[in-house]
């Protein structure tokens, strides 16, 4: 499981070693071992029920697991697939972003430095106009942008996105891809994208981990052959030749 020559530094950003997760006695993940190269955009792919989200939850410490997960980063930004929350809660997008860093309670107002920082995060995802809106009044795509702004405001060394294109229209997906490319250009960052949207993988990823209960393949994107895809998804998936951003070795 070597890393991409472009991104495969000796020290990975993250390493899973024999990670096993069982829920109610049912095995969800079985001895998952893989490395996420530092500076890479690693796509975690697999069919529904493959355990992609469960691996993220283990990584975030929200389910108990056996094995080892090594993280070489002080700050992680996380964009969940869907935010289950009480939509009647009177919290504005600006407050949502500010409360993450601000120590002073929100009932004493938002400090000017935190306000500027929150506004900057919203600008990064072209969502300045959402600042005064209630979180519960945002559409799925708008909420996704605010969540991305929140994750970026962590100044993360590792950015984790769970199905960023789910429930988002074509323009929204394109915006997410554009923002991810832009922030990666602007500062060194490892991105882990959980997705089964292969167009996003081809367009954006440099590395890939194929999961189906256990790791079926892992490494640079060029390992993603039709055989690997068939073994992972159980069906043949034609590989599109267009919208490729990352470089691919000629012999792939």
């Amino acid at each position: 499981m070597s890393g991409n020559p472009e991104t495969g530094a000796a020290e990975p950003a993250m390493a899973f070693e024999d990670v096993t997760v069982e829920i109610g006695g049912v095995p969800i993940l079985n001895k998952v071992s893989a490395r996420v190269p530092k500076g890479s955009v690693t796509a975690l792919i697999g069919p529904n029920g493959a355990g992609k989200t469960m691996l993220l939850l283990a990584l975030l410490g929200q389910v108990s697991y056996k094995g080892t997960i090594r993280v070489n980063a002080a700050r992680i930004g996380y964009v969940p697939q869907r935010l289950d929350f009480d939509r009647g809660l009177p919290v504005t997008a600006l407050e949502f972003l500010a409360m993450d860093r601000q120590r002073r309670p929100l009932f004493f107002g938002i400090g000017s430095s935190h306000r500027k920082r929150a506004e900057k995060s919203l600008r990064q995802v072209d969502a300045s106009h959402l600042a005064p809106r209630r979180l519960g009044a945002l559409s799925g795509g708008e909420l996704q942008r605010v969540l991305l702004a929140l994750a970026l405001s962590q100044d993360p060394e590792i950015l984790i996105l769970d199905e960023p294109a789910a429930g988002v229209d074509v323009a929204g997906e394109s915006l997410v891809c554009e923002v991810l490319s832009r922030v990666r250009r602007d500062r060194p960052m490892t991105q882990i994208i959980v997705t089964h949207d292969m167009s996003m993988v081809w367009a954006h990823a440099t590395d890939v981990i194929c999961l189906k209960g256990s790791v079926r393949a892992a490494g640079p994107l060029f390992i993603l052959t039709q055989e690997v895809l068939a073994a992972t998804f159980g069906v043949h998936m034609p590989r599109p030749g267009q919208c490729r951003v990352a470089e691919e070795p000629p012999d792939a």
């Binding site: 969940p80 929350f85 009480d86 809660l89 407050e95 993450d100 929100l106 009932f107 969540l147 984790i160």
Partner: protein, 288 residues
């Protein structure tokens, strides 16, 4: 213990009603002015976490706490407080480790606490009489010592709100997201559960087991209807808690009313909640 007379004088000066000349009314007013805003502030998080059933379970465990005190020959106030905090913390601990939903876990503890209390009380008639006092509460019997305890609790809870409001709000929106972004969710959950349990037990003295949840939930729910922001919700809840306390004491003291003070405070809060529905529905219509 420092003399509270200047505070009582201030209360009767600010509320120049004839019934406020009685010391026990001044004490009741001061006690409620400390308790109601505290409950309202904690209620903001209880509403955000959808934990109304949690406060119900803790308040009903007061019943068992009192019975335990009588059996062990210890002051019922200590056993009530200790048992309430134990139940609150255990609900969180079991809920975190179980695959059951939080309300199912609370339901189990709720039933166990009540059944345990009833089993103890059924063996002792004296215990039954003592326990019934806590079902209805009586703020008019509050003394200086209790007011000092309430004042200390007020300081602790407001310090908690200042330190933890943003983190608690974060958890109220989504615990997984808060945890992923370095909020120490278990720590805040346990501290919050213990503090809510203590507030609930103090409230049981004032308004009784049946009305505790209302004192926590109603001002916060009304505040939520009126607020346009997360910060605003806190102030609205506190204001509604304080206004209901004052109006509840005043109304209950009127000869034409002659109602229990705790119940009247809760009814005042409910009236304010009903009024808060109007701007909430107007805003909803405007948003469409």
């Amino acid at each position: 213990m420092p003399d509270l007379s200047p505070l009582y004088a201030l209360v009767s000066h600010l509320l120049p009603f004839s019934f406020m000349e009685a010391r026990f009314m001044q004490q009741a007013m001061l006690g409620l002015l400390l308790l109601a805003p505290m409950c309202a502030a904690m209620g903001v998080q209880i509403v955000n976490f959808r934990m109304a059933f949690f406060s119900d379970a803790v308040s009903h465990s007061a019943f068992t706490g009192v019975a335990l005190g009588l059996i062990l020959g210890v002051s019922a106030r200590f056993t009530m407080m200790g048992f309430g905090v134990l139940v609150g913390v255990l609900i969180i601990a079991v809920g975190r480790r179980s695959l059951l939903s939080q309300d199912a876990v609370i339901g189990v503890f709720f039933s166990a606490a009540i059944a345990f209390g009833l089993a103890i009380v059924s063996r002792d008639r004296q215990a039954a009489r003592d326990v019934s006092r806590f079902l209805y509460g009586d703020i008019l019997t509050i003394g200086d010592a209790e007011i000092w305890c309430l004042a200390a609790l007020f300081v602790i809870l407001m310090a908690f709100q200042v330190l933890a409001y943003n983190r608690m709000l974060y958890m109220g929106i989504n615990r997984s997201l808060a945890g992923a972004h370095r909020v120490r969710v278990p720590l805040y959950q346990y501290v919050f559960a213990a503090l809510v349990s203590i507030v609930v037990m103090f409230s049981v003295w004032a308004v009784g087991v049946f009305l505790v949840t209302a004192l926590l939930i109603v001002p916060a729910a009304a505040g939520r209807n009126l607020a346009r922001s997360a910060g605003g919700m806190f102030w609205w809840a506190i204001a509604i808690g304080a206004v209901s306390a004052v109006s509840g004491v005043i109304i209950s003291a009127q000869p034409w009313a002659g109602t229990a003070t705790g119940a009247t405070v809760v009814l005042s809060a409910c009236a304010l909640f009903a009024a808060s529905l109007v701007p909430a529905s107007l805003r909803k219509r405007h948003a469409r």
